[in-house]
């Protein structure tokens, strides 16, 4: 069952098309990383999901509710944190939590205390006097203390030092079992460690969406070594990306890797070769390849 489901979501800001037919499904219990370059439409998609603004066309559902109807009580089940959300800076951390508590029937005081301790938040400090990292921690604590069914994080780690980022991720993962998490980011390294699913957005569209383990499994950097000068094929399989050659070596990225099938495909294209190696790729390398190729890897 999808906790988030969108169909042909389009959002135009005057002439700029921020979303261009987004189809996204986030399964229940997933830690879904929505990644893509700046300007891909991630924040716009999340803001439509949160009904901060409406779509130009298409539809979206969050927790079974049409996103256009998300308001008031629906938010008792959703924790939303964004890097660019304006917080009531005049409030002290404790006052913010005291203020928000009555809004949530499921607010957990002991969890609140736990989060305060875990994030080392000073209750009596004004938000305006907190560092960026501490502000993000306070926002996250206030978004987790009521056991949300869905946690939406829009670029939560941008500009944070690694220590704070790890603390936030740790705090988040400890609650991952009871919630579905959608986190957007343009920094792939930070989400690789904890995401279960990943979706890649580019130019307002979802290029692909799948389980992270499967994604990492199906991408390989292939190096084919020849005895002499390599013969580049006139037409390579469409799942081979960024093919290049040097001296006696041809390199490319395989996006549908299966040891036997890929091996047979290499032999079929190049004939007899001296050696073939398949190297695993990091998420960052996969997405760089995707971005450079600009084509659908699915």
């Amino acid at each position: 069952m999808s906790v988030i489901h969108t169909e042909n979501l389009v959002k135009k800001f005057r002439r700029v098309e921020a979303l261009n037919g987004l189809n996204l499904d986030v399964p229940e219990g997933a830690v879904y990383a929505l990644v893509g370059p700046n300007g891909a439409g991630k924040t716009t998609a999340i803001k439509i999901l949160m009904n901060i603004f409406g779509p130009t066309s298409g539809r979206a559902e969050v927790l079974g509710v049409d996103s256009a109807r998300i308001a008031g009580r629906t938010f008792t089940a959703i924790g939303y944190v964004s890097e660019n959300q304006e917080q009531p800076e005049w409030m002290r951390v404790g006052a913010l939590l005291d203020y928000l508590r009555p809004f949530y029937p499921s607010w957990d005081r002991s969890l609140e205390e736990e989060l305060i301790r875990q994030f080392d938040l000073p209750r009596d400090r004004k938000l305006s006097n907190l560092s960026r990292g501490m502000k993000m921690k306070a926002a996250l604590a206030s978004a987790l203390a009521f056991h949300p069914k869905l946690i939406l994080l829009d670029e939560p780690f941008t500009g944070l030092d690694p220590l704070v980022r790890d603390e936030l991720i740790q705090g988040l993962l400890e609650r991952a079992e009871e919630a579905t998490i959608l986190v957007s980011s343009h920094d792939l390294a930070e989400i690789e460690s904890f995401a279960s699913h990943v979706g890649y957005m580019e130019e307002g569209q979802l290029r692909f969406s799948e389980e992270l383990a499967h994604l990492v499994e199906r991408f390989r950097e292939v190096q084919v070594t020849f005895d002499g000068a390599p013969r580049l094929p006139e037409r390579a399989p469409e799942n081979w990306m960024q093919m290049n050659s040097s001296a006696a070596v041809v390199r490319f990225i395989e996006s549908r890797f299966e040891t036997e099938r890929t091996g047979a495909e290499v032999r079929g294209v190049f004939g007899e070769v001296r050696d073939v190696t398949f190297s695993p790729m990091t998420l960052r390398e996969i997405f760089l390849a995707m971005a450079k190729t600009g084509r659908n890897a699915g």
Binding site: I52, P88, F103
Partner: protein
């Protein structure tokens, strides 16, 4: 209710400075308001009350300006605390229910603006000698009118993201109003007539802010809300431009029916003195004052000169029409002269001043019957005037006026008449008594029909001045204790318009070189 109170308490904690300043200003307002009844309301008498009076007037004027500004500031701050503009506010992704948020903001304004004002008004009424329990409806009416004014501020606050943005929006509104005022001056008759357009404007004035506020809280569609405000401004402009003013005036002031006697007769008098026909180079307009002999006003009639329109047709075919202009003075049975004045462009005047023109003068008249006359002798100290309030002779000791304080609204129609020769004032050295039968009148009337006038203070002061109409301008006059006066409550009977035709009329003969404003004598 829990959510409403939660938001309310948060706002109180956050905006207590603004609340304190606003309430302090309200207290200062009450203090100065009370002082103004005790000391009289005219600056001109300052020297009698000592220098503190000037300071007091200055501070009082400052408080009068600062108090509404502080209310506006409180409203802007509290509404923009959960800003309705933008997509980055933390509260939009929290379980706020818009009706409860709106209720919390409304509660805040009611508790910290309306309630203190209501308490102050009750205090001022009691302090002024009126029983507040007799004026509950009027007090609530005042609150409703204040709330309407505050809703305009709230609507602007709801479509702006910051105090600065609000200030800019307010500036745009002010510029728009100035523009509309200037445009109104350019459109003949527009400043005189009231029409169906007024009712539409009032309805829109009430509805637009409410719709904008509801739209913003329920949908946060700022662009649409701003468009709605712009649409409202455009409709007002359209009403101003498209109203057929002359038709409206003709409907409001119908021609005298055949066979009916006019309420007043006018006969052209020769000009007071022969002007030389020259116009100072720096003047762009020339004022014309035409003296008329006045007759035919019944004893108990009052003829108010509501408006005038002048049309001129020159022998060379040139036509000019002034459009309807307000006059606002009255003729009584004892008046035998009246001056009707208007202005023409200097260029036009120069062209036709010596030509025999045809001038048509239309007068919009409101005829009232002077009724319920009661004789009254001004007592010493404070006295009660029925249907008015508490009054006293105040002002210059040798020529005092009657100053009255009323609860919630000034009297709708009260005429004070007295024989100047019977003034009990001692006069100053060299002053003589007026001739018996020389009458002075002061008529206070206003058409507002609500249970209370618009304003912050529930105490309204009216000053019945001593217009010295005696043939000797230095005659002893004034409402000193012991002066017999006649009080009456004129009632409007009908409105009508009459036309005066002046043929072979030389405009140059009636050029008014004095700086006097339109007056009757």
């Amino acid at each position: 209710m829990k959510q409403v109170l939660n938001i309310f308490k948060k706002d109180v904690r956050h905006y207590w400075h603004e609340i304190v300043v606003s309430i302090a200003l309200l207290a200062a307002f009450a203090r100065y308001d009370v002082r103004s009844w005790a000391n009289g309301s005219l600056v001109g008498y300052a020297y009698e009350a000592g220098s503190f009076f000037f300071d007091s007037r200055l501070l009082s004027g400052l408080v009068d300006v600062l108090l509404p500004m502080s209310w506006a500031f409180v409203i802007v701050r509290v509404i923009q605390g959960e800003s309705l503009v933008g997509d980055r506010q933390f509260w939009v992704t929290r379980p706020y229910e818009w009706k409860k948020l709106l209720a919390a903001k409304t509660l805040f304004i009611l508790v910290f603006i309306n309630l203190p004002l209501l308490i102050t008004d009750v205090f001022l009424l009691a302090k002024a000698g009126f029983s507040p329990t007799h004026y509950v409806v009027g007090l609530l009416w005042m609150q409703a009118m204040i709330a309407l004014g505050l809703s305009l501020i709230a609507a602007l606050a709801a479509v702006t993201a910051s105090v600065v943005q609000f200030g800019l929006a307010l500036l745009v509104v002010v510029l728009y109003l100035i523009g509309m005022g200037s445009l109104s001056e350019q459109i003949p008759s527009s400043s005189f007539s009231s029409s169906i357009g007024d009712a539409v404007q009032t309805a829109l004035l009430i509805a637009t802010p409410l719709v904008v506020i509801l739209l913003q809280y329920s949908r946060r569609t700022t662009a649409k809300s701003r468009l709605l405000i712009a649409g409202f401004a455009a409709v007002l402009l359209l009403i101003l431009l498209a109203t057929p003013y002359q038709t409206v005036v003709a409907h409001q002031y119908p021609r005298l029916e055949a066979g009916h006697q006019p309420p007043v007769r006018f006969s052209l008098l020769p000009p007071d003195k022969q002007p030389d026909g020259s116009v100072p180079a720096d003047e762009k307009e020339v004022r014309i004052e035409i003296p008329f002999g006045v007759s035919g006003i019944e004893d108990n009639s009052i003829v108010s000169m509501s408006g005038v329109m002048v049309a001129i047709e020159a022998p060379d075919g040139l036509r000019w029409n002034s459009g309807w202009r307000s006059l606002g003075w009255s003729l009584f049975s004892e008046n035998n002269r009246a001056g009707i004045s208007f202005t023409v462009k200097k260029k036009l005047f120069e062209r036709i001043k010596s030509l025999p023109v045809k001038a048509d003068i239309w007068l919009a008249l409101s005829v009232s019957r002077d009724q319920n006359r009661t004789e009254f002798v001004v007592p010493r100290g404070e006295f009660v005037l029925p249907e008015v309030g508490f009054c006293a002779a105040r002002g210059l000791s040798y020529e005092p006026d009657i100053e009255c304080r009323s609860a919630l609204r000034t009297p709708s129609s009260l005429l004070v008449t007295y024989d100047i020769s019977q003034s009990s004032c001692p006069g100053m050295e060299g002053q003589a008594r007026a001739k018996p039968g020389e009458i002075s009148r002061y008529w206070h009337s206003h058409s507002d029909s609500g249970p209370a006038d618009f304003g912050i203070s529930p105490i309204k002061t009216t000053r019945f001045g001593t217009v010295n109409n005696a043939s000797n301008a230095r005659a002893i006059a004034g409402f000193c204790p012991g002066t017999p006066v006649v009080l009456s409550h004129p009632e409007l009977l009908r409105r009508t318009r009459i036309e005066l035709e002046l043929n072979d009329f030389h405009l140059g003969d009636y050029q008014d070189r004095s700086m006097r404003s339109s007056a009757w004598r």
